[in-house]
Structures are given as structure tokens and as C-alpha cells.
Amino acid sequence: MDYDVIILGGGVNGTGTARDCAMRGLRVLLLEKADFGVGASGNSSGMIHGGIRYMLSDRHVTALACRDSGYIQRIAPHLLFRIPFLMPFTSRAEGATLRDRAAWYATEVYVGTYDLFQPLKHGKPSTRLSAEELYRLEPGLRPGLRGAVTLDEWGIDAFRLCALNALSARAHGAELRTWTAGREILAEGGRVRGVRFRDALTGEEGEARAPVVFNATGAWSPALARRSGAAVPMRPGKGVHLTLDRRYSNYGVILSAVDGRQMFVMPHEDESIVGTTDDDYYGDPDDVEATNDEVEYLVEGAASLLPGVRNARITRAWCGLRTTIYAYGPNEDALSREHQLHDGAAFGRAGLLSLVGGKLASYRAQSQEVTDRILALLGRAPVPCRTHEEPLPGGDEVPDPAALARAHPVAAPIAARLVYRHGGRAREILRLLEEDPRLGLVLCRDEGILAAEVVHCVRHEQVRRLQDLRRRCRLAVGACAGLDCARVAAQLAGRELGWSPEQVRAELADLLDAGWRERRPILDGAQLVQEELVRGAHAAAGAPW
């Protein structure tokens, strides 16, 4: 056999499991049909939360989730950011009714109980805010609120989390292939024996053999399973987020949508994120786009507490598919409340494991559980898991951005972005400037992208297409939509990867297409003006004439 295990899917669960398997000495092949994180993982809210909602039913689930959040902070400290959430006390009536007060009290007690778990994830205890304190912190809130409680959580750049897990797996010997889809899971005599795959960029087709296949293809897995003679039951749900240019709140704000569902607005870099919708989705998972209804639903919900959002410049609408467990069955272990691991033996596919569900926040623990199962399937003796101890690439010795900016010819905010995205590797990136000062060119002033960062990502972070840089370093995802950066970045990547001029233009067009799909439903106001500019500036790159 070529490998011990083949992992399908480069989301957080696929890459996390690849890392764990590789660290425990297995020969691993990971296939991702596009790029790391393009599915639910990168399009999630990116919250490493501590499972507050299980607190009343399964306290130990909350404890586990909080402990794991603490581990993620340990292995990727640079990639996490604190998001204090405010849960404002609203009231429909003029004066608060007894019922309102009871509800507020309940919230306070609930969040107060969560405080007991906060130390596990280095969170701060909750605080009750008076109305006056609330408005001092968040002057953009609509008038008439009675106060709030705070709730401390953590956020992460989920695209980079996936990439870092993948790169760590690679460093431990795993083989990674992006833009390569598993077409069929092959079986023989009741057991899986490997995978047939196709490389979308070269057209190469091939077979890889392994006694165990882990199907972590998220919303795509029912179709893949069906093609391979197995079944994976799930209920896919579409979730849409909006990105707003500039921050509309200083803190995360929890609020209710028109239908009473919980939503949030949270600051992220120099933007705000509004999320999310949640609706059943039965379409093609390769074809998800936000609709006008979903955009309006989110704007209305956010504006109910932050009226300024109505005038916001929406820069994009992005979606992901949740893979909700079809029906809650009996669970062997507590963490699998949120996920299930299906064994293919029932379909004559022994050695096939398929994951359904599985939150971003607990990816590490899930990966550990899956790796344990894989070792068992392979008949290997247990090897201890170390994914909670060994830092992810860049997660050790995170430098101080101000010191970096003093030592290198870059502005402090640029150094800060570099450290946020790359941790300790920011030093390597800045060393590139010593050999080639031209790489100090700031390609994007919105996102703080240096030419050197593009070169580093292309060289070391498994970039095969220009659009992969959207996920590695936020190329062309900001409000400017690639106006300044896209052409030069395409040329730099092309030079590194040996692209022909035609390939450079094709990659540039593909990058712009990806942005267009996210902006099409929201083009309005200043963002529509920007669209005219971006189209005008790039017309000559891909003009039919």
C-alpha cells in the first residue's frame, strides 16, 4: 500500500486529522479538491467558542470545549483574537416588564455559570453593564437598552488555521495535494483499498492505495459516498455572512433577527462581520451564492440594534454549508453531540470513516478522536497525541510587531498584520527584504499585504493558484476588490511558479471571478462604484477583444 491513510477534504477536520496522523507516524495522503478551508471551515464565523450551549445538559462537554480552546491558543497564539461579546438587554415594552427582567436575570446567571469554565480557555469573567456603561462602550447601539452582560470568546482566521494544520502535517511527512479531488473511494472484498483522484489543474488522474480512507469532505460527502456505494446521512444548512467596510461596533454584539434567531455583529480587522443565516440547502454545494433575501435579513437584523449598519458599505457576502447531523442518534462519547463518525463497514466499506458535523472550535479534539480510530483500524498500538502541545507553524516565539517594525523597513501596522497571519514566520518574511528590497512594496494598504508576503506564501504555503492567496493573506478580499494588488500579485506569483503570460492572465481572471461571486448580491452605493473601477482597470487583462 502507498499510504496508511488517505484523507479526503482539506477543511479543518481533514487538515487537523492529517496533522495528527502524521505526527503519530502514519503515512498520510490528503486530497483537497480546491484549496485548504474553501468549504465550511473558512466560511465559518471563525469562533473558537467554549460550547456554552451544552452547559446545562452536558457540563463536561463545555469543559472539554473550553479546554480545547485553551489548547488552540497554546499552539497558534498569533492567530487568535479576543472577542468580548455584549448581550444587550432589550425590551419591547416602554418600561421593562417582569418577564423581561426575569429573562435578563436568567441570561446573567447563565453567563455567570459559564464564567466557571472561562479559566480553561483563558477567558475573562462576564460583567453586568449598566445602560450608561453599555452606551459608553458602544455608542452606536440604538437608544432604549437597559444594560448588558458581557461574554468573552475567541476568534480565529479559519483559513489560516486550515493551512497551518496542513503545513504542519506536511512538515511531519504527509503528502498534500490541493486542487485534486477524490473521485471515487475504491473497495474490494468488503474493505476500502484506496481512492481514484483527478488533478483539476493538470488533468492528471490516478489511484492511491491505503487501507483506511477518512472522508472529511463536509457538505460534499453524501455525493461522494453515493458515488462510492456508501451513504452518509446529513442535513446541509447554508450560512451567509456579510462583511462591512469599517467597524460598526467596538465589541461583538449579540442580537436577534426578525424571526428571533440569534445573530451577531463583530469587529474583525478593519471590518465588521454580520452573521449568520441558517437555512436548509439542497442545491449543488459547488454553487452556493448568497441571495438578496439573505442579505436583507442580515442587514435588518443587525440594524435592529446598530442602526448605522443600514448605511454600511457591504463589501461581500460569503457562504458556507453546515453539515448538521441528520438526526441525533445515541452517542458514545460526549463530544460527538456535535459530530458523528460513520463506519463504512455497514456498506461493505470497512476502513472508511466519514465525518458529519464537527465544529471548527473542537477540530483538534475531533482530529484526535479520528486518529485514535484510524490507529485502531490499522491495528496499530496507540501512540499518544501531541497536537495540543506542539505549536502550529509560526506559533512559537511570536514576535512583537513594534520591535519588528523598528528592525525592518516596514510600518508598524504592516508588521502587526504580518505577525497576526504568520506569527514567528513574520521574521522570515521580512528577511526577504534584505535580499530584495523591492519586496517591501505594499501591495494592498487595506489589508497590509507586502510583496514579500505574497512571495513567502507562494514559496512555502502550498499555493497553486492565485486565488489561494485570498485565503493565505487576504489578497483582493477587502473593499478595494483587488484594484491595486491583483495584477502585481499575479506577476509575482507567476514568476515564482513559472507561469506563462497566458496563465498569469487566466489566474488573474480567476481571482477576480472569485471576488465577483461574493459581491454580485451586494453591489450598491460605493461598492458599486468600486466595481466599475475594478472592471475598468482590468478590462484589458481579459477582454474578449
Binding site: 484594484l483 495584477r487 503570460p501 461571486r517 450598491d524 482590468h538 478590462a539 484589458a540 477582454a543
Partner: protein
């Protein structure tokens, strides 16, 4: 409060881009007293600086560059394919295109090169060549069909903005269609640290005494044998009067041309400056300000600290970048509140303007997008129409990107439409009923 200064004119032009300026100059030439109001530079100042009239929609992909039709024939062909396009809507008036282009060349004489019978094929920083009906003198020598010898793409040592090797390799592919052989060189003009400068900063640096000459000398030193012309990044100065292209070429001893620019575009900035100079030379009064909530020609209208009365108006306020069309939930025309149409294939209509953005765009980015080509609907005399298809106001004309049915990014007709419609609207406004 200061009472506004009152100005009376025969023609009020709203908008100071290519369309508004040509309209004002054409009306002025026809003898009218003209006032032009403009808020700020618009799309014209951001354009590559070359004038796209129309690429020939029937041209075959590999056909020799020499086979390309002239602008008028290409525009006629486009009009046949696209009934909503201004070229089609204008009917017979499309035939005025050569006059309009000649008029624009005269009006912007020092900046623009005289037109040829055929389009010029001008190279871009992407390594493609696009057909242009008119271009700046600083761009003309780069015409792929005019280079006698090899075309040398010169990159600036120490600057990543232009990948000369990539552009040269890419242009080499036009050889099969009659283009020149191409080479890339890197030149070090000894101008100090350039690496981190942005295009406008480079342009300003080259305006300094001796800088353009130093670049020219460096080019001369780097020239391979057999070079016929040199292409450089479009950063040859911000002000036309600084004469950077001429100074560089003089010192290089060879024809030097700029590549077409993306954004920010220094040739676009120079084009806008030339437009302003032409307005001043022709005696058009220019008022800085914005027109809002106007009812139409005839009634006095405030613009900045000026109150203007004119019986005929030309609305040349541009599209989204210019501010002539805006969208806030639905598409609108802010100056006069005229109905906006969004064309969807053959089904153009004002009722589509209120549709959600996603349903006014197609999933494929490249190609016509009803939302991006939205604008006023006009008749053959460039009179904006109301929702029922009748002229919206007496004495009102429209020109340029505010007129819908075209978009430079998808059909290559940007400044060409601005020149033709500006020319026609300006003349029509100057001579009501006359000559028609």
C-alpha cells in the same frame, strides 16, 4: 449669507469629463455661450488614456492586426449586434463619428496623436494589446503595427510595478499577427530608491529636472541592436506641460511609448488636465460645484456659489465613478431624478432598475452586466426619455457614460461614446432645431 453670483448662458453642461468637455467645446464652436459645472474628476481621469471606440465584434481571434476595421465600421457592426447600445440608438448620427474624433483631436491637439484609418494596437501592463481609435502622443509609438524594428519593453530596475519580461514574452505572441519582435530590458536610471513608490510618485519624480533625461540616457545605454521603439511603464509625468515623454524620448534617441495604464492612471490624469486646458482656451466658464434636485433647463439652478440659468442643458455626469448614476437600493439619477434603465439583453426597461443587484448581473463576471451598463435611456437626438419613452424635459440632452447600454469593460466603448455623444449633444444644444 453671500448671495449667489448669477450667470446666464445658452448652454449649461453638467460634468467635466470627456463627454462634458467635448459637449461644451462643440457648443462653443457652434457659437453658444457655455457654462460647465463639475464636481470632480470622474472616470475619464482614471481611464488608460487611450480612446476605445469599438473593437470589431466580428474580428476573428487570430486574424492579422492589419485586417482590423476602422472605428466607424467597427462601431456600425457593434450597433447591429446590440440594439441598446448608444451607437445603435443614434441611428444615422453614428456616421458623425469620424467628425467627432477629428474634433476631439483638434481640441486636445498637443496631447492626442492624429487618428489613423485603422485602430492602433497598444500594449497594456498585462501584456495584451487593445485597439484604440485615438491615443496620446506618448502612447502612439507603441502601436504594434508602427514599430520599425524590435519593440523593447523597459522595466525600471528596483521597481516591481511592471514585469517587463512578462509583457515582452506576452507581446511576442502578436508576431504571428503582424506585430514586432519584442525584448525586455531593465534600466537603472540612477534616480535613487524607487522600489516603494506608487505610480503618481514615480511620475512626479520623473518631472524633476534631469530625471526624464537620466531615464532616457539609461534606456539608450540598454538598447539592444535593431530596436525600433521602447515601451515603458505609464508613469511619464502628471502634467502635460512637464513634457516628460518628449524629454525621455529625446535623451533615449529612439521613439518611447507608455504602456496603457490601469488605476491610478497617469495618462488619465494628463487627459483630464488637457480637457481643462481646452475649456479655458475656448472660453468656457467652468464652475466648481454639484447640481442636485434640479427640475431641468430653463429654471435657475445653484451650483456652488453660482446660480446658472440656461435654456439648454447637456447632462454629462458619467456613470457610477462620475456620480451621474447611483444606486442605494435602487438605481437613480441624482441630478434631475430621471428614470434609469437597466438593459437585460434585448429587454431594456426602467422597471428593471429596482431589481436586486444579483438579478441585474450574470454569474460570469466577464461580459455584459445590466447593472454595470445601467444609465439613462435616450432617443436618437440624445434626449433623455421618461418612463413612457417620451423626452423627459425640453432642451435637455445627455452624453457619455450617464447614457446606458454600454460599458467599456465589457464592450470596449468608453471614451469613444463620450466623444461622439458629447459632440452631438453639444452641437444640438447650441443650435436647437438647427441643422437637424
Amino acid at each position: 449669507m453671500v448671495s449667489p453670483r448669477a450667470v446666464a448662458a445658452e448652454v449649461l453642461v453638467v460634468g467635466g469629463g470627456m463627454a462634458g468637455t467635448i459637449a461644451a467645446l462643440a457648443a462653443r464652436e457652434a457659437g453658444a455661450r457655455v457654462v460647465l459645472v463639475r464636481r470632480a474628476p470622474g472616470a475619464t481621469a482614471l481611464s488608460s488614456g487611450a480612446v476605445g471606440v469599438a473593437p470589431d465584434p466580428f474580428a476573428l481571434p487570430g486574424e492579422p492586426l492589419r485586417a482590423a476595421r476602422g472605428p466607424l465600421e467597427a462601431a456600425r457592426r457593434l450597433a447591429r449586434l446590440r440594439p441598446d447600445h448608444p451607437y445603435a440608438v443614434l441611428g444615422d448620427r453614428l456616421e458623425a463619428l469620424p467628425d467627432a474624433l477629428a474634433f476631439a483631436t483638434r481640441a486636445l491637439a498637443p496631447l492626442l496623436a492624429p487618428p489613423l484609418e485603422r485602430p492602433r494596437f497598444l500594449a497594456t501592463s498585462f501584456g495584451t494589446a487593445v485597439p484604440a481609435a485615438l491615443c496620446q502622443r506618448s502612447q502612439a509609438a507603441g502601436d504594434l503595427l508602427a514599430v520599425g524594428g524590435a519593440l523593447v519593453v523597459a522595466g525600471l530596475a528596483g521597481h516591481l510595478g511592471l514585469d517587463a519580461a512578462l509583457v515582452a514574452a506576452s507581446l511576442e505572441r502578436y508576431r504571428a499577427r503582424g506585430g514586432p519582435p519584442t525584448f525586455a530590458v531593465e534600466v537603472d536610471a540612477g534616480l535613487g530608491e524607487l522600489g516603494l513608490l506608487r505610480p503618481h510618485e514615480l511620475a512626479r519624480r520623473l518631472e524633476q529636472p534631469g530625471a526624464a533625461e537620466a531615464l532616457g540616457a539609461a534606456i539608450r545605454a540598454a538598447l539592444p541592436a535593431g530596436a525600433g521603439a521602447v515601451l515603458v511603464a505609464p508613469v511619464l509625468g502628471l502634467r502635460p506641460e512637464a513634457q516628460v515623454p518628449e524629454r525621455v524620448a529625446g535623451a533615449a534617441g529612439i521613439a518611447v511609448a507608455e504602456l496603457l495604464a490601469d488605476v491610478p492612471s497617469m495618462p488619465g490624469v494628463r487627459l483630464q488636465a488637457a480637457l481643462e486646458a481646452a475649456l479655458a482656451a475656448a472660453g468656457v466658464e467652468v464652475v466648481q460645484g454639484a447640481i442636485q434636485g434640479a427640475t431641468g433647463p430653463g429654471a435657475p439652478i445653484a451650483a456652488g456659489a453660482t446660480e446658472i440659468t440656461a435654456a439648454r442643458w447637456v447632462l454629462a455626469t458619467g456613470r457610477f465613478v462620475g456620480g451621474g448614476i447611483a444606486r442605494r437600493g435602487t438605481l437613480r439619477e441624482p441630478a434631475l431624478g430621471l428614470p434609469v434603465q437597466a438593459a437585460e439583453g434585448r429587454e431594456a426597461g426602467v422597471d428593471l432598475a429596482a431589481r436586486p443587484a444579483a438579478s441585474l448581473t450574470g454569474a460570469a463576471r466577464v461580459g455584459p452586466q445590466p447593472l454595470l451598463s445601467a444609465g439613462l435611456r435616450v432617443d436618437a437626438r440624445l434626449r433623455p426619455l421618461d418612463a413612457r419613452g417620451r423626452p423627459a424635459a425640453e432642451g435637455l440632452h445627455a452624453a457619455g457614460a450617464v447614457v446606458g447600454g454600454h460599458e467599456h469593460a465589457s464592450d470596449g466603448t468608453g471614451l469613444g461614446v463620450a466623444i461622439l455623444t458629447g459632440y452631438l449633444a453639444g452641437r444640438a444644444a447650441a443650435r436647437p432645431g438647427g441643422g437637424e
